[in-house]
């Protein structure tokens, strides 16, 4: 499983743990006192209304956004938030799968697979041949794109939503992630493609990895997640196991959250 590019893994309990994590953008407090621990083989469904802070939370966990306060532990080790970055998150084998937001539209796939962590010589020049070879290998072996006219030189703009999702998933698989974050991965996909994404989430679980799964389709997330975390206005409103809360009850809970000043505390 280790591909030699990362440290050998000691045993750990939680792949990532946030403690009183806060994120603010200027005067706007986007996240307040987030306490969240994700075990090394947990599938955590993250749900909440638009603007609840779901995307901000995963951006904070993956180094895109810098938290204003709080603590972060990765594989039980404290992380220096001031120096945490996407690069670090990649090195720690965190991968994010976004449908629209993680691929460069006009760029060929051999760039998209490696952007931000190119295979370079010591002067920073990219080994295009090697990147092409690996990209084609991922396309053919992991993704079964053989014979459908997609290769390392195809640009993202020519791909369907499902294919883009496949590319992002292939990238996560290639870099052998231990934590895979899926941000609304089934949005605007055909039913067949949705099934592939759901299969992928099951594969994450079966292969002993962890996932954070943001999904607005409550049925999907209720069926797949080990735990559901509900965010509301930047705070965790609830954290439950699907077995403890039926899909109907979950739906009602979310609707109640929308009532102004409902006064719900987790």
């Amino acid at each position: 499983m280790t591909s030699g590019q990362a440290l050998p893994q000691p045993a750990y309990t939680n792949i990532v743990e946030a403690e009183k994590l806060c994120v603010s953008f200027g005067p706007v407090q986007a996240l307040t006192d987030i306490d969240l621990a994700i075990g090394k083989n947990d599938i955590v469904g993250l749900i909440g209304d638009n603007g609840a802070g779901k995307s901000t939370l995963i951006k904070a966990l993956t180094g895109v956004v810098r938290p204003s306060s709080g603590r972060l532990y990765i594989r039980d080790q404290p992380v220096d938030l001031g120096r945490y970055s996407v690069r670090k998150a990649h090195a720690l084998r965190f991968e994010t799968v976004y449908q629209e937001k993680s691929l460069g539209e006009k760029q060929p796939l051999w760039r998209n697979f490696f952007a931000g962590r190119q295979i370079v010589n010591r002067f920073g020049f990219i080994n295009v041949r090697e990147q092409r070879r690996i990209a084609n290998e991922i396309l053919q072996s992991h993704l079964g794109f053989r014979g459908v006219g997609i290769d390392a030189d195809s640009t993202v703009a020519n791909l369907s939503g499902g294919e883009r999702q496949g590319i992002a998933i292939g990238r996560a698989m290639h870099f052998d992630a231990d934590l895979i974050i899926l941000d609304e991965p089934t949005t605007a996909l055909a039913i067949k493609e949705v099934q592939k994404v759901l299969d992928f989430v099951r594969w994450i679980k079966e292969s002993g990895r962890a996932a954070i799964y943001i999904e607005h389709n409550l049925a999907h997330v209720h069926a797949l997640a080990d735990r559901l975390v509900v965010l509301d206005r930047g705070r965790i409103a609830a954290s439950v196991r699907p077995a403890e809360l039926s899909l109907d009850a979950l739906t009602r809970f979310l609707i109640d959250l929308q009532q102004p000043k409902a006064g719900i505390a987790a």
Binding site: T62, G63, V64, S85, V86, R87, A89, H90, T96, Y98, K101, S102, L103, G104, E105, K106, Q107, R111, A115, G116, R117, Q118, V120, F123, G124, F125, I126, V128, S141, H142, L143, G144, F145, G147, V148, G149, I150, N158, G162, E163, G166, I169, G170, M173, K196, D199, F200, W203
Partner: protein
């Protein structure tokens, strides 16, 4: 995960015309336009275009502008723009002239020209990437500022630099090698380096992704802020070098130098086929674009057409080149082009205004 699970059953038709399938030659449309222009000029003015002197003169006058177009290509690739380079031509040229004439240290002058350009670019970069002002706005402001600073420093006076004639620095940067102007070799060198930076270096790839989408670049772990500061600084250095070359080949610093170059350099980049929306840019296209822009005026005059027609023809060539490029690269975006032409069409008028002050 088994490969079968993600297998895509649907086959797809690739929307590429067979002529351009497989390996495409970068900048092909603009190269075709370039060759066609040379052919037309040669047919109309064989006494000029079948002899060497006109090419010798092109290889002296075009390189400074061409080098700037190469730097601009990187800026455009990142979805940014730099309108302050004419001010750098003025400012860096002054620094070089001052060091050469007043201090007698032309090599220090070269370094000062590069550093001066770097300073202007770094300030642009900070204002764009840290403060967050759109580059098209802020570089108008910095352009006025640095142009003003140069005017204040030189007191509005030009500097004649006859003492530099036949000095090593003049021979290296503006002399002859094998009968060909040295400027041409420098421009070629910058072009080759620029191509590798844009297409094969991590920095160039970061610029392409930033130009494609800043938020995607951030998610991929690209330090968008730092790369954009680097980009504008590099653009300043490149322009500083071009300004130095211009000054030393003229053996004169003109207090107004740089004026009138704005649209020409931008035109070179855009007729070369780089996208104004960022994320896609071509160095080869910019080289031929700058060559075309640089030789049009002399070429048109040589063919005996009245000088009044020059800008009409420049505008036509611009439009034809851009349309041809779009038609070849992405036929589907001809619609988009219709909208873009509405913006770029009036170039000849703007060029006139640009040259009046």
């Amino acid at each position: 995960m088994s490969s079968a699970r993600l297998r895509h059953a649907a086959s797809r038709a690739r929307p590429l015309s067979p002529l351009f399938a497989g390996k495409k030659l970068e900048g092909l449309p603009i190269i075709v336009v370039f060759i066609a222009l040379i052919a037309v000029f040669t047919a109309l003015a064989p006494h000029v275009f079948l002899r060497w002197p006109i090419y010798d003169s092109f290889l002296v006058t075009i390189p400074p502008l061409l080098i700037i177009s190469l730097g601009l290509t990187l800026v455009i690739a990142a979805g940014e723009i730099d309108l302050s380079f004419p001010a750098v031509i003025q400012f860096s040229g002054f620094l070089f002239a001052f060091c050469s004439l007043q201090l007698g240290l032309p090599w220090l002058g070269l370094i000062a020209a590069l550093l001066g350009g770097a300073l202007v670019g770094f300030v642009n970069g900070i204002l764009v990437a840290v403060v967050g002002v759109p580059s098209i706005i802020i570089t108008i402001g910095t352009s006025f500022f640095w142009s003003g600073v140069a005017t204040v420093l030189c007191g509005g006076l030009s500097y004649a630099l006859p003492g530099l004639e036949n000095t090593p620095i003049a021979n290296i940067f503006a002399g002859k090698l094998l009968g060909v102007p040295a400027e041409a070799f420098w421009a070629l060198g910058v072009a080759v380096l620029g191509w590798f930076v844009l297409n094969r270096h991590r920095f160039g790839e970061h610029l392409l992704f930033i130009g494609d989408s800043r938020s995607v670049a951030e998610v991929l772990g690209i330090n968008v802020r730092r790369e954009r500061i680097k980009l504008f600084t590099l653009m300043g250095v490149i322009t500083g070098f071009a300004s130095f070359m211009l000054t030393i080949q003229n053996l004169n610093y003109f207090a107004t130098q740089g004026q009138g170059t704005l649209l020409s350099a931008l035109a070179g980049v855009f007729i070369g086929g780089s996208s104004v929306f960022g994320g896609s840019a071509t160095m080869v296209g910019s080289v031929f674009g700058a060559l075309i822009i640089g030789m049009l005026e002399a070429g048109i005059v040589a063919t005996g057409v009245a000088g009044f027609w020059v800008e009409v023809i420049v505008g036509l060539v611009f439009i034809v080149a851009v349309v041809l490029h779009i038609a070849v690269e992405s036929p589907a975006s001809l619609d988009q082009l219709r909208r873009r032409l509405a913006v770029r069409g009036p170039r000849p008028d703007q060029a006139t205004k640009e040259e009046i002050p």
